[in-house]
Amino acid sequence: MSEQWEPRIVAFFCTWCTYTAADLAGISRMTYAPNGRIIRVMCSGRMDPQFVLKALADGADGVLIGGCHPGDCHYQAGNYKALRRYTLLKRVLTEMGIEPERVRLEWISASEGDRVQKVMNEMAEQIRKLGPLQLERPLPQPLPETERGAVPLPVAGRGLRG
């Protein structure tokens, strides 16, 4: 960890609403905290809770999930599935001793660039308040020999063990 600690946030954004909104924030030149790293998924329904655990295990201090507003899902109900898993995941995190506030689910539509800005800033602030996530750092994973080589180990066992 560097001397000047900065929150690391992984953001999973659905391509139809929140990712597009983040693009809009960019087009509109809305500056916000640089701590968020956006990973694009097709739908917030693709959000495997393991992605969140993996990110936290690999050094993220917070995770943000962005999906379409209820009723707006491009795939009808993926965001509801995400909400379902998110609610459960928060309980699991609490059990693990991780502050559930480190993970946040937000509905941001494609036209809400300003909301991306607001949420990213809020999230950075929130994590700054909580401080770094004190987990044992996992060993750097060896990269595969070929693209079809090693299948990474199941995640839950990696960072959270011990």
Partner: protein
């Protein structure tokens, strides 16, 4: 293209784009490149000014061709922008295009990060993620899916019309759906178009007729899209609700005779409420299609509340128009005893009358009585069929009479057995003549006899004839013997002389005439019969009549109007008193009544507070006679039934609630002998219900099917009563109080003028009053009242939404006085006024008909205002100029424009503005503070004063004008949000539909195959709307001509060896793409149905379900990438 499997060990090229200065000004590109070189598998890392340019792409292709790399990462803008470009470059370099990944360092980094160092670090993280991810990419093939050549266009305004014609002219099939009865949209309402001032109708209507006659366009007006579902991977199955217009579109000739006779007028939507239209209407003469539509909301509250569903709104509307004969026909449609009901019905209709929420409900029975009084010799309709079966009916009360009538109308021959010497049951023996004259009853009964109903009086069933005989001789039997046996008080002295039962007393007076009871009469009870008995006792010569009731006035079950009438006649009321003992002896008869005071306790089973005696509170009332009227029960024993009819513990017949059939098949019962004492209309309802059952019984049909809507129910309509002027119910004339000692009818009925005035108070809740006059004049026989909404299902490959806008509601800004001052208008209202086919024939007039001498036009109403809409509505400046010109031209008035900025960009628009300046129109720069009628100088008297700051000279001005025009802005349609959800698209700021890209894809949306055109995308004028419609049409045509689309190969798949067959994924799929293969015991994904959301992948506990382009490994690598290196 080389074999994808021979791709070999990853050799990754990273290309970092400067995007001019867009990225390079913030991100230290060289540092990023140096960093990229350190990443595993990266063999080449380069930077270039514009990677998307041809030389930029060539860099990639060359490295690929030279074998330096076999996978590509481009760090530049958003993949939503250029992913396709670089995939193509990768493919042209000889690799599978999916050996590519993009890092978004412009939209997500350089444009949103203030600090250059942090931006550089963030860019590195994203590139590291992309590098790690792309190493796991696999070769994929894009799938081609055919595009269905049919097109759906939603909205028949100028945008929809234009797009439909363009596409249809190219030979493609178009469905044009419009929810109003005509196409044309807002443009059809306009008079002139800016800046050319050409006539809107002249340029629009030819296009409208072209749509109608075009062989490739199927026009579906008065229809709405119900749902849009995926038909396959790319095409849509659309369900369209064709709303019932009650006029056959194919046969209606548009002659308009129906509208001439229609009695219902409502404000015309097309004329912005400045003129009226009929309930059967065509919005305007050039409407396409040129057919009429009936506005029908369904059953009005009055009719729904009536047990026999008498169409009250129908006859009331006809009375209001002086069509009394027609009103009678409507009355007789549902009711064979209208002159009786018009007098004594307890009128549940008035209880639910919407007018009652404003001032008073209508006197609905009074109006019915007026019509029947006007035609004393009317006839009942003759049955249209005749059958052979005879039906026995026991009892000639309202239940029996109604049953007989309904059966006769169905062709049967009813025979009524009546024990009393006169027919009519309780109507004749229980209701006094001053409320219901005997000749009214006899006339009604004679009318029934005239249509073939036989009535045998003095023929008590059980004595003269037995029930068993009736059952054998007749096809069916209906028992409606009412409830005529008095309930007893159960107090000592009840059998003394001059103690009467209420019905016993009334029967005697009704059959034998009045007789002397005594000076002081006490009536015990609080129902209608008690009040009737009291008022009859008065007419029998009693000096003092007192009603003794154990609860209070509020709990009295009698009709409040009857109680009032009794009080007017001098009848006293004694509340909270119950009889304890009747005093007297056999010789003197009754001399007094000992009562007990009561108090009100907790509510009982009826919901009313139960009276509780106060011990020791006895008091004595002296009297000469007592009439105990505390209710009646049926006399079932009198029938001498040997059939074995089941009864209840309340001494009534046990019947099936739906069919009214007793336990003996073919024997039905209804009215008071089933329900206990109830009102006339409910007895008639029972008779009608039984008749329907008997008809089905005889025809061996299902007696229960489809009978949910029989009997009273509630309907409510949101009626805007805000503008309704208060006008109380017109009191029904009555004979003088001093004459109310005889059996003359108390109420004399409305005069013609009164009836019309009362009828005019009706609020037309259901709009169409169902009088059916229109069908009598329609020569084409096009009117079909039974028409129902139906669903049309179509399959299309492309959809254009052209649903337009709605004008800003000026009422939302109260300080401009719209709705308060009559001479404040919206622009659209003036638009209609200036139209020569409009409500004033093209004259611009104030509400009182005067020509305005000065007119103020207020710009930006609801636009450029943070309190309402912050956007500019774009068209208001120009249309204000147009209206200013038209107003000045037609009236010579001084016209003042109050503007914030004049926004007149566009071809020939500035010139138009110049011309208006030259025409002498005044322009005042400043937002208007308020419109007021408060005069401060004599000049301002009687004027509307517009107060505004003139910001050019820096003073507050007060401009007195006669007319104010509000240039209201454009808003999304009220249901825009609902519509965009239906079509899987998004709304942007302000609620307008969101385009895919504001500049480069203005008519595309994020949903493939769905396009937008016109004002639904944002405020725009006709010019731009037409241009956009053309663009949308071009998009659609290019899709259809290409014939297929390529789908992103991001579908889910199952790794069979990992699937445990747990079926978790199956119910999660919204597209039902997953099924279970029971042979293999694994889940199977139908790739043709999978849309690629990945929800199933996230849920798979074993990792068997995966998604191409978004496998678990790829996302894990991305996570590690963004976190591991920086």
């Amino acid at each position: 293209m080389p074999e994808p499997t021979t791709n070999g060990a990853p050799k990754i090229g990273v290309y970092v784009c400067h995007c001019g200065v867009n990225i390079a000004a913030k991100v230290n590109v060289s540092e990023v490149v140096e960093f990229a070189k350190t990443l595993p598998f990266v063999t080449v890392a380069r930077e270039y000014k514009f990677m998307c340019s041809d030389p930029g792409q060539e860099l990639i292709q060359q490295d690929l061709r030279e074998g330096k790399i076999n996978r590509v990462v481009v760090a530049s803008c958003s993949p939503l922008m250029h992913e396709a470009t670089f995939r193509r470059a990768t493919a042209e370099g000889g690799q599978n295009p999916f050996f590519f990944h993009m890092a978004n360092i412009r939209e997500h980094v350089s444009w949103v990060t203030a600090d250059g160092h942090k931006a550089t670090e963030k860019a590195k993280a994203l590139i590291a993620a992309a590098v790690r991810r792309v190493a796991f990419h696999e070769p994929l093939e894009k799938k081609r899916v055919p595009v269905h050549p049919h097109v759906l266009i939603v909205g028949g305004g100028i945008a929809g019309i234009e797009a439909a014609l363009k596409i249809a002219d190219a030979g493609k099939k178009v469905y044009l759906v419009e929810r109003e009865p005509t196409i044309g949209g807002h443009m059809a309402q306009f008079d002139k178009c800016f800046p050319t001032l050409d006539c809107a109708a002249c340029i629009l209507t030819p296009k409208m007729t072209q749509v109608r006659s075009h062989p490739n366009i199927e026009l579906l007006t008065y229809s709405e899209v119900e749902s849009v579902e995926p038909y396959d991977l790319r095409n849509f199955k659309v369900r369209i609700r064709r709303k019932a217009c009650y006029v056959n579109e194919d046969t209606c000739t548009g002659c308009g005779l129906c509208a001439e006779v229609c009695p219902v007028s409502v404000p015309s939507e097309f004329d912005e409420g400045l003129a009226m239209r009929k309930a059967i209407y065509r919005p305007f003469p050039q409407a396409v299609p040129n057919v009429f539509t009936i506005s029908r909301r369904g059953t009005p509250p009055c009719q729904a509340a009536c047990s026999i569903h008498q169409n009250a709104q129908g006859y009331i509307t006809l009375i209001a128009h002086g069509k009394f004969k027609e009103a009678l026909d409507v009355i007789l449609r549902d009711n064979p005893l209208p002159s009786i009901c018009g007098r004594i019905c307890t009128h549940p209709c008035t209880v639910n009358c919407t007018r009652g929420t404003v001032d008073d409900p209508l006197n609905i029975p009074g109006l019915k009585r007026f019509v029947t009084d006007l035609f004393p010799d009317y006839k009942l309709p003759q049955p249209k069929v005749n059958r052979s079966e005879k039906i026995a009916i026991v009892g000639s009360g309202p239940a029996g009479l109604m049953c007989a009538y309904e059966l006769r109308q169905r062709g049967y021959w009813p025979v009524i057995y009546e024990a009393q010497p006169v027919p009519g049951g309780m109507l004749s023996v229980g209701i006094p003549a001053f409320r219901l004259p005997r000749d009214v009853i006899s006339k009604e009964i004679n009318r029934l006899k005239e249509i073939g109903i036989e009535i045998k009086t003095n023929t008590p069933v059980g004595k003269a004839v037995t029930l068993e005989e009736l059952r054998k001789q007749y096809a069916a039997v209906f028992i409606g013997i009412g409830a005529h046996v008095e309930r007893r008080l159960n107090v000592p002295g009840e059998d003394l002389p001059n103690v009467w039962g209420g019905i016993e007393f009334l029967r005697k007076v009704n059959l034998e005439g009045p007789f002397k009871l005594g000076e002081r009469v006490l009536v015990i009870g609080g129902g209608n019969s008690a009040v009737d008995a009291a008022r009859t006792a008065l007419r029998c010569g009693a000096k003092e009549v007192t009603i003794v009731y154990r609860r209070t006035r509020a709990e009295m079950p009698a009709d409040p109007k009857e109680i009032e009438a009794a009080e007017e006649e001098g009848i006293k009321m004694l509340f909270l008193a119950a009889p304890k003992t009747i005093l007297g002896n056999k010789d003197t008869g009754v001399t007094a009544l000992e009562c007990l005071k009561m108090k009100l306790g907790a509510p009982d089973a009826s919901g009313r507070p139960a009276p509780e005696p106060i011990p020791g509170s006895e008091f004595v009332l002296s009297c000469d006679a007592i009439i105990a009227t505390i209710g009646q029960v049926p006399d079932l024993k009198s029938l001498g039934d040997k059939l074995g009819l089941e009864t209840t513990k309340w001494g009534t017949f046990k019947v099936d609630e739906v069919t009214l059939e007793t336990n003996i098949p073919g024997v039905f019962a209804g009215g008071d002998c089933v329900t206990g004492p109830d009102v006339v209309v409910n007895a008639m309802y029972a008779g009608k219900k039984a008749a329907i059952s008997i008809d089905r019984y005889i025809n061996k049909l299902d007696m229960r099917a489809g009978r949910e809507r029989e009997g009273p129910y509630r309907t409510e309509y949101a009626i805007d009563t805000s503008g309704v002027a208060m006008q109380k119910q017109i009191p029904m004339p009555a004979i003088a109080l001093e004459r109310r000692r005889t059996f003359d009818e108390v109420h004399t009925g409305y005069t013609q003028e009164q009836a019309i005035a009362e009828a005019k108070r009706c609020l037309d809740c259901a709009i169409c009053c169902d009088c059916r006059l229109c069908s009598t004049v329609c020569e084409a026989k096009a009117i079909n009242y039974e028409m129902k909404d139906h669903i049309q299902e179509i399959v299309v490959g492309s959809i254009i939404l052209a649903t337009g806008f709605k004008p800003f509601d000026a009422r939302r800004i109260p300080r401009y006085g719209y709705g308060k001052y009559p001479n404040v208008y919206t622009a659209l209202e003036i638009e209609r006024m200036t139209n020569s086919a409009g409500p004033t024939g093209g004259e611009i007039r104030l509400r009182d008909g005067r020509k305005p001498k000065a007119v103020g036009i207020i710009h930006c109403v609801g636009s450029r205002d943070r309190n309402y809409n912050s956007y500019c509505s774009r068209v208001c400046c120009l249309y204000s100029l147009k209206l200013a010109h038209l107003i000045k031209e037609r009236t010579g008035a001084e016209v003042y424009n109050f503007y914030i900025d004049m926004r007149v960009p566009g071809k020939a628009y500035e010139e138009f503005y110049d011309r208006m300046l030259e025409e002498g129109i005044h322009f005042i720069r400043g937002r208007v503070a308020e419109v007021t009628d408060h005069a401060m100088t004599p000049d301002e008297e009687g004027k509307l004063v517009i107060r505004a700051e003139d910001t050019l000279i820096g003073v507050i001005r007060r401009i007195p004008v006669d007319m104010v025009v509000l240039a209201v802005g454009l808003e999304p349609q009220a249901d825009a949000d609902e519509v965009r959800r239906k079509f899987y698209i998004s709304c942007g700021t302000g609620g307008f539909f969101l385009e895919r890209h504001p500049k480069l894809a203005p008519v595309q949306t994020f949903a493939d195959g769905i396009f937008i055109a016109g004002a639904c995308q944002g405020p725009k004028d006709i010019q731009d709307t037409v241009a956009q419609a053309g663009a949308a049409a071009a998009e659609v045509l290019s899709l259809i001509d290409r014939g297929f689309v390529e789908l992103e190969p991001n579908t889910a798949f199952i790794r069979e060896e990992l699937c445990s067959g747990c079926k978790t994924c199956i119910p999660l799929c919204p597209f039902s793409a997953i099924s279970f293969n029971s042979d293999k015991g694994i889940a199977v994904i139908n790739e043709a149905l999978c849309k690629g959301c990945g929800t199933c992948v996230a849920a798979c506990p074993s990792g068997a379900a995966q998604q191409h382009l978004f496998t678990d490994e790829q996302i894990y690598q991305e996570i590690e990438g963004v976190l591991s290196y920086v």
